[in-house]
């Protein structure tokens, strides 16, 4: 399956990938409304890790054998074996954070308002995930490996 791969050597730590993710997953899909009108501000599903000159954006790896799915006790985290995507079904999530503890990449985040979790869904409505498209320096690649 196609996944999003970061390229640390050209990531400039601008965080525009996070901003694009927020806009894509906002109600309005408008950058200014998403940030200024939607409260609380939506949370990004990817995370730029930084230390000095090193930076890269991490998001869900959509593992073949996902520890988050195994850890989920309510059946809210599921692996869609057809598309390969690890999906989160919000209506089933009870906010126990088991998946957060299980994820070896630390890329599942809390939704502070709804007390559930959020994670990367590879932007099902787009041909290329928003973060990849927004990155100004081609530091994110969406490809089959």
């Amino acid at each position: 399956m196609k996944r999003v791969y970061p390229r640390e050597e050209v990531c400039i730590g601008c965080h525009l990938c996070e901003i694009a993710c927020i806009v894509e997953h906002s109600a309005s899909k408008d950058i200014i409304k998403a940030f200024k009108a939607e409260t609380p501000r939506p949370t990004a599903r990817n995370l730029v890790e930084e230390e000095g000159a090193i930076s890269f954006s991490v998001s869900c790896r959509h593992c073949n054998e996902p520890p988050c799915v195994q850890a989920c006790i309510s059946g809210a985290m599921v692996k869609d074996y057809q598309s390969g995507v690890v999906r989160h079904l919000e209506e089933k999530c009870m906010g126990c954070w088991s998946c957060i503890m299980a994820c070896p990449y630390g890329v599942i985040r809390k939704n502070p308002v709804r007390k559930t979790v959020i994670k990367c869904d590879l932007c099902p409505e787009r041909p290329i995930p928003a973060c990849v498209e927004a990155c100004p320096n081609r530091a994110l690649i969406f490809e089959e490996r």
């Binding site: 050597e9 050209v10 990531c11 400039i12 730590g13 601008c14 965080h15 525009l16 901003i19 950058i31 200014i32 940030f35 200024k36 000095g52 000159a53 927004a134 100004p136 320096n137 081609r138 530091a139």
Partner: protein
């Protein structure tokens, strides 16, 4: 002199100079989403985030006008403007002179700058017009007819001898084919980083042209682009060894540079990291000082010795370029250079860029490349030695029309450098010497250098050459010429506008209407 962060506990009074800043930053509060991209991208720490009030702030006194924040702001909330605050009008004491005096009175130092001479001297390219064909010699449509831009650099024989009907008897010295009359000019590894060098090398390879290493040696990863490389041998001899000399297709002896004629170079020790120390062959952290002269060249005879030493070291397989800054007697010097055995003469005009130069030198020494080119070409023709060397001009070539005019004035090709840097984002903020280039170009700071993705740089540089190539073809076609070679030195195709007799005479062109 960098101002300390303003804030709690700071004194209220600052040196007079620091408040007379050049730019103001307008941030549209309706558009700003406090994402802080501007803060993260500014290498001069202009932008800040005030957590208590949840708003972005800016210390405009630090802004150099690089426009990085403006370019990256996802909502277009930022506009960088010239500071409208001005001194009383005075045709003699301009704000530029006044501010420079304040700076020097505060520091006692030489004013430093980067990039090329921005002063309002005449730009002769803009006072020269091209001809176009009409009914008697019709124009050519390059989309339908073949149009030749290929060119060969190197000395051409005085005459060609053919035996047995079709066999060439004359032996040629090495020739380098270039597919466009454009080369990337010398920029050293150190003044710019490896990512840019990579982009230049790959673009040169794709487009069939050459790039120039500058005087910093050659990174091992770039030896594979040898067929498209000119290696430079400058007064500091940094990175020069046998393999380096043999790595490219040509060796350039840099005698002078347009941005700072008569001046040596200085790459400060802080910039000599492990990789640069390796290619320059000097210890880490030591200053790289290139002397003003080559200490083994004090005459044309000694230049000849170096030219032939390099030819000998490379088995007469490489072309030897000699680059000088355009100065008052360039024509006589160029004649000497050709007689000393140079295969290519590179002339760098006073608009040429640099990583760092004293401002007064950059803005007041040297001459416009157009005049130097015309006089050198003319002199070499008069002496009957124009065929013995190719002529490349550099220093402020801004567009394809400048290239076409340069060729009609006698050049074989042009060197571009500032235009290449602009292609990858440079906004000519003239702060290359600080090492903090926010576009990741004139810096080796690993955090900033990542801003140049060699792949993107390669694409943009190749696109620039491609685009200029198309335009050059159109202009040639418009003049009824189907090969670049037929335009070289064809001054009949040029006319001056608003130029006086002396200028027209030096350029060797007629006035428009004549």
């Amino acid at each position: 002199m960098e101002k300390e962060q303003r804030g709690a506990g700071a004194l209220l009074y600052y040196d007079q100079n620091q408040n007379y800043h050049d730019f103001v930053i307008e941030r549209n509060p309706d558009k700003c989403i406090q994402c802080q991209v501007c803060l993260r991208q500014c290498s001069y720490s202009v932008h800040g985030y005030d957590e208590r009030h949840d708003e972005m702030r800016a210390d405009e006194t630090r802004c150099v006008g690089c426009h990085r924040c403006e370019a990256l702001c996802p909502t277009g909330a930022i506009t960088i403007k010239k500071n409208p605050s001005d001194f009383r009008d005075n045709a003699l004491w301009t704000p530029w002179h006044i501010k420079n005096i304040y700076k020097q009175a505060a520091t006692g130092g030489v004013l430093l700058t980067g990039m090329g001479n921005p002063s309002p001297y005449p730009v002769y390219w803009d006072r020269i017009l091209l001809d176009a064909s009409q009914v008697t010699n019709p124009s050519i449509d390059p989309l339908r007819e073949p149009m030749e831009l290929r060119n060969y650099l190197g000395a051409k024989p005085d005459a060609i001898e053919i035996i047995n009907g079709d066999e060439l008897k004359t032996t040629f010295t090495p020739q380098i084919p270039i597919e466009y009359p454009l080369l990337f000019s010398a920029m050293s590894y150190g003044s710019i980083n490896l990512n840019i060098h990579c982009g230049l090398a790959r673009a040169a390879e794709e487009m069939g042209i050459l790039y120039n290493t500058g005087e910093g040696g050659l990174h091992p990863s770039l030896y594979r682009y040898g067929r498209n490389t000119i290696v430079q041998c400058a007064s500091g001899r940094f990175g020069v060894h046998r393999d380096y000399l043999n790595a490219g297709v040509a060796i350039e002896i840099k005698v002078g540079q347009g941005a700072k004629p008569g001046i040596g170079g200085h790459l400060p020790g802080e910039k000599i990291g492990p990789e640069i120390s390796l290619t320059r062959m000097i210890p880490e952290g030591t200053d790289a000082l290139s002397p003003a002269p080559h200490h083994d060249i004090y005459s044309i005879e000694e230049l000849r010795q170096l030219i032939y030493a390099l030819k000998e070291a490379t088995d007469y397989q490489k072309l030897v370029f000699v680059k000088i800054a355009a100065v008052h007697n360039s024509a006589a010097i160029a004649s000497g250079m050709v007689r000393a055995g140079a295969d290519v003469i590179a002339l760098d005009g006073f608009r040429g860029g640099t990583g760092a130069a004293p401002t007064m030198i950059r803005d007041n020494v040297g001459i416009p490349i157009e005049l130097a080119l015309a006089s050198v070409d003319e002199r070499l023709r008069q002496e009957g030695i124009r065929n013995q060397a190719s002529l490349i001009v550099a220093g402020g070539i801004r567009c394809s029309a400048d290239v076409v005019k340069a060729i009609a004035l006698g050049a074989d090709a042009v060197y571009i450098a500032t235009a290449a840097l602009i292609a990858v984002g440079c906004t000519v903020c003239q702060r290359c010497y600080t090492g903090k280039c926010p576009w990741g170009i004139a810096t080796n700071d690993p955090y900033l250098a990542k801003r140049i993705n060699p792949e993107i740089a390669h694409e943009k540089l190749a696109n620039l050459i491609r685009a200029w190539g198309h335009e050059i073809q159109e202009m040639l076609g418009g003049m009824g010429i189907n090969a670049l070679e037929s335009l070289r030195g064809n001054r009949e195709k040029l006319r001056g506008i608003g130029l006086n007799e002396v200028e027209l005479q030096i350029l060797g062109i007629k006035h428009a209407g004549a």
